[in-house]
Symmetry: C2
Subunit: 334 residues, 2 copies
DNA sequence: TTGTACGCGTTATCAT
DNA sequence: ATGATAACGCGTACAA
């Protein structure tokens, strides 16, 4: 492994000074064309590779952004990370990635590691540290789809999504509208799905039931819970046309499979609608009608917000951006 | 945003020299307990945060590892990334992540960015650059489950996995054994699944068919192709007990859904076995029998290999580690 | 046990 | 248009 080539080497080789070499990269206009060519040549001959760390130390801009996701086993987060990484093309920021696994202690450690590397900003998707705590950190932060009272953040307009889902079920002339979700507090953006469902049902006086309860932490547990829920719903609303709006696509898929296993079919009186438009909704046994979350727009908006904060160090005003969801009609609604 | 505190500030505050402050972190034994306390105190009072970039510049160890995945939409890669990130706890390395999306031009750019940040090593899961090209880079590299002729790498023992799958189907007294996979070249580790299948079938004189063809690039395309394949298989082997070993769980799930939609059931004479033990195999309509790839072991082995290379700069000998797969019997085999 | 002086590879300021 | 010199924040001989 040959010794690393530095500006000094190039300088000696070309009989210029280090400064001129630096300028070659940062202000090439100020060099004569001839000298530019000479330097270009030397760079190739000596096989120079830039050292960004030295650059960072000298000018302070690391071009790093830290990102903390709760996990990568849920496609939702994996897909979000994927879109965030893709913004490299547009913004040039590199990403240092950590998985929090809902451990606040580890998350704090990750954050201090990140800060030690002079990251210019952070994107938080995990839920285990409050926005209040995070807001005290000395770097720009943007959250995605999480509690964000004290921080800039982007979320899907979940309230609107719930409205779209519910009124679509209504338009299908369902006899009973059911929403299944976890018990949530209003700070959580997901709560707006429940909120929207209830609002429209009450305003329009639609027969409805809200099932808000613990829905399991593992797939098996969730499956068991939904089997139970299915029994309840199936007997309670026998013969009625049911419109079931479920918290997310993963759960909708579980429910769909249970119904299908029971009836060897999805009966006409079952209408299921999920949320997220994640891959499972497309790849399910019967492609699932769902509310599309524009993950691409979400992640791009997050990066825009963050880059803005990084560049204009001012921005006292909190910004919360909402992204419009849309209805994807597939085959679990008739 | 207050000015950043440095060793100099701490030094002035405590009337020690910078060196002593440095030693506080790197060789605390050499300080008296009393002085350690004084410094500790000052660090807190002034709210010091370490600057790892400066440290890296001074001592050359960035504690960065670069990692390039093909994408994160396939759970396989997302899960692998997840396990690799988790090794932070054991090895302390931070990860700079890029998604190649099978673009060799971008991948080369990512790599030079990574090298510019003095990464100590790289883990490659993407397929678009040959191990020969990669082996010319001036940093330690380990590959996971890909062509690795000129580089250290870890793979699942796919040959063994195919043997296990096939002989399990044989033990079920199938009349015909079928393997569905893409057309692969022998350098690709996945080829060993086909290789193993053929070997055992021929050695034991088992009736078999190999379907090796293009299987689609999008989910829709793949689905269409498998619908076609199902028609062929279903008519050709009517009444026979079929043992179908499919390239991976995602495809196995697609095939399962097609069969189920057709028969509203999985008939006794259909035996399906996937590969990977990815989440979809557990969460399918009927949990899918599959070959377990130990992703945890794979990623850990990869990190061990890499850390080894980083520490002992020698290692001329190429190392290829194979990880044992195992059979997970679920409900698509009878 | 502690301090001095220099190096790591850039950028920035001020000259020329 | 180009150069000399001093940062950036920390590690490490070597000296004391």
């Amino acid at each position: 492994m040959q010794k690393k080539i530095t500006f000094d080497d190039i300088a000696k080789y070309t009989h210029f000074s280090k400064t001129t070499i630096s300028r070659y990269f940062n202000h090439p206009e100020t060099l004569t064309e001839k000298n530019r060519a000479i330097i270009k040549d030397a760079l190739e001959k000596l096989n120079y590779h830039e050292n960004k760390l030295a650059k960072v130390l000298a000018n302070g801009k690391s071009e790093f952004i830290g990102i903390i996701v709760p996990n990568l086993s849920m496609h939702y987060y994996a897909e979000m990370l994927s879109h965030i990484l893709a913004t490299y093309q547009e913004f040039g920021y590199k990403f240092l990635v950590f998985e929090s696994n809902d451990d606040p202690v580890m998350e704090r450690q990750y954050i201090s590691e990140l800060i030690a590397y002079n990251i210019e900003g952070m994107i938080i998707l995990s839920h285990c540290l409050s926005s209040q705590e995070l807001s005290r950190l000395p770097i720009p932060i943007v959250t995605i789809e999480r509690e964000s009272q004290f921080l800039n953040g982007v979320t899907t307009d979940n309230y609107r999504g719930a409205l779209i889902a519910t009124s679509y079920l209504q338009s299908l002339n369902c006899d009973i509208l059911i929403h299944i979700n976890s018990e949530l507090t209003p700070e959580n953006p997901d709560y707006e799905r429940t909120h929207g469902f209830l609002d429209i049902c009450e305003k329009e006086h639609l027969p409805h039931q809200l099932i808000a309860q613990y829905l399991g932490a593992t797939w098996d547990e969730t499956n068991t819970i939904y089997e139970d829920l299915f029994q309840q719903i199936d007997t309670k609303y026998q013969g009625q046309k049911k419109g079931i709006f479920i918290a997310n696509d993963t759960h909708a898929n579980i429910f769909l499979n249970i119904v299908y296993r029971h009836y060897r079919n999805l009966p006409e009186d079952y209408n299921i609608i999920g949320f997220d438009d994640s891959s499972i909704s497309r790849e399910a046994l019967i492609p699932i009608t769902t509310i599309h979350q524009n993950i691409d727009t979400l992640s791009h908006a997050a990066m825009e917000l963050l880059v803005d904060q990084i560049q204009n160090k001012k921005s006292k005003q909190l910004i919360h951006r909402q992204v419009e969801p849309s209805l994807i009609i597939r085959h679990t609604t008739h």
